[in-house]
Symmetry: C2
Subunit: 384 residues, 2 copies
């Protein structure tokens, strides 16, 4: 028996936008000269590079074209932002929640080992950061805030993070690797000093990403060597990837409203279907609204074990993620579930449904039906 698969793990790897794919193919043929070459082939490559930079600047709502640095993806953008700041300021305080993405958590812990003070920001039951409860640390400061949470989909109020950063005299780093495009955001309006972008969550290729740095921000390059990217990121430029990110950025600038609207409809249909068919299912994070990324749904199925349920769902033709989307070695249950105070049996039973460009609207009822089927199968083998 073969059923048509339904893929709902877009956060960990989604499709390319057709226009991105088409444009990338142009750059996988021919000379493949590097933008650093002074010759005609190099100058042509540089023009493409700078066109892509301009497209990302426009997408980010930035003024300063020079602010964008292309690099290899979201993780590098995050590490480069946090550790590059740390390298430049030497000591100080870093403000972050207990439920940041492991890339942020790892980078901040690395600075913690070097003497930086970590100040934790509490969250409410739906994952909203509670800046009012945070005390100022010592020395120079970096406020780390995610635009949308990678598991819960909670959209953070960047304006509150900014107010806090201003109050304590800290710089503001926005991890937009989840949320960019899917959530309203402009670097100029946000007042952010550093912003991390992941290409593949925007329909651009894996291996693409960007770091935006506000002019004048104290920061040191993370990858040194050649003089690419204005001495801010060494290494031969991955032009096909960069061009792909540029095209995706332009698509979002023009059609982001439609992308968001389409996916929000799928999200609503899936949430309704699961809620209706499976009374035990519990939605975590904010209810469906502008406070939740349209690309994220996090349901727990208390009493079941997330990994097992994900495996059974795979067997019935539904690809989802069991547990957190990205965990570090010591995290056996999703940190976000601890942070929001979820019950242990819920925390162990978290399934992430992440939607993306290309998620088929009309399949969400069927997807919910498969979740029900999976829950039934797993419940049937459990001891009563």
């Amino acid at each position: 028996m073969s059923v048509e698969r339904i893929y709902l793990d877009h956060a960990s790897g989604g499709i390319l936008l057709p226009s991105v794919q088409k444009e990338m193919l142009r750059f996988l043929v021919g000379t493949q000269a590097s933008p650093g070459g002074g010759h005609r082939e190099g100058r042509e490559a540089r023009e493409e590079l700078e066109r892509s930079r301009q497209r990302v600047v426009t997408f980010l709502g930035a003024k300063d074209t020079e602010g964008v640095v292309f690099l290899s993806g979201g993780t590098e953008a995050i590490q480069s932002a946090v550790r590059g700041w740390g390298e430049a300021v030497h000591h100080g305080s870093i403000y972050l929640s207990e439920m940041e993405h492991p890339a942020v958590e790892s980078a901040v812990r690395a600075l913690g080992k070097k003497g930086f003070t970590l100040v934790r920001v509490p969250v409410d039951a739906e994952g909203r950061l509670k800046w009012g409860e945070v005390k100022a640390g010592i020395g120079k400061g970096l406020v780390c805030v995610h635009l949308a949470h990678h598991d819960l989909g909670t959209v953070q109020k960047i304006s509150e993070a900014r107010k806090f950063a201003e109050k304590v005299g800290a710089k503001l780093f926005v991890d937009a690797t989840h949320g960019a495009g899917w959530v309203s955001f402009s670097v100029e309006e946000s007042g952010a000093d550093l912003v991390a972008l992941s290409g593949h969550r925007l329909g651009a290729p894996k291996g693409s990403g960007a770091l935006w740095i506000r002019s004048g921000t104290l920061w040191s390059p993370w990858l040194e060597g050649g003089r690419q990217e204005g001495d801010r990121r060494a290494g031969t430029e991955n032009l096909p990837g960069i061009v792909g990110l540029g095209v995706a950025a332009e698509e979002w600038s023009k059609g982001g409203q439609d992308f968001r609207g389409d996916v929000a409809k799928s999200q609503q249909a899936l949430a309704d279907g699961i809620g209706r068919k499976i009374p035990m299912a519990k939605l975590h994070g904010p209810k469906l609204s502008t406070e939740r990324s349209p690309a994220h749904l996090a349901f727990s199925f208390a009493g079941l074990e997330a990994e097992s349920l994900a495996l059974v769902l795979d067997r019935v033709g539904l690809a989802v993620r069991g547990g957190s989307g990205c965990v570090t070695r010591e995290m056996r249950i999703p940190p976000a579930m601890n942070a929001i105070g979820a019950m242990p049996d819920e925390a162990r039973a978290l399934i992430l449904f992440t939607l993306g460009l290309g998620t088929p609207h009309g399949k969400m009822e069927e997807a919910a039906e498969r979740v029900l089927e999976g829950v039934k199968r797993l419940t049937a083998v459990l001891p009563v």
Copy 2:
């Protein structure tokens, strides 16, 4: 007037092997699931990832499949090797020449700032490292050696570097970002502990690369966050790039002899042509032999200025690099030319001709003719 261009700047950006391009296209369509997903799509991606890893292991002449870590390119591989070692051992001595690639130089200098001792290895007039003249430093040690020099094309005797490393009890890092494929090398025979690879110099895409780590080597990950690559390199895997590198590695394992032979013929034809037509041209580095990478030719044209000559050559349809292939901020003349004791007027007049897969054999006489034309044009406007 339009002439057909001749592109001889392959070291900074070369073509994709046709088989690489074809296989990559397969991975730029469809679900693009991440190898970390536990679902069918994820497992299929993981199989492709591990097939690519095996191909790179075979290419490297390694035994340990687990030794290969995929990352974003040569610069990241180098930084990850050097700084990851430094992060793990905390203090010690690093042995390197004054003419390493800026990625190596930057990484080592960063460790120097953190208290590591730098011990410089002298070179002879053709760029060969003179290990016999180096004294042992204190503490744990890292010997840095390039497989082939990025400007001069000098092939280093890795066995000598290894003997030195054994004598002083140091680990051996081989920067094979230039030289891999083009020069005979096997990680097992070499005794290397860390080896850096750049994808795009093997006909694989930009944005691909690998670090090989001998099992048991003290080393810390450079990019942390998610648990990809066995906790050794965080970040969503760039599967199209990795698959491209795997296919290129397999092509080299099978047909490397032919690739090297073909390019050596082009190199010989170009060197002969330039030598015959332009008496002032001086070849730097070893004479054409197995002591020189077949992909590199470095000529100086004493009295002319490298950048100006490269621009004039571009005008007559020849794309080459003037000066060093990759310089850091403070380097106005190629460090290698200083290191080998070149005269200042030669050092300022270095032109790099780098060949690669796809360099047209039959065009080398014409290329040499264009060099002559460029030299004549530039000489004509110089004061007599």
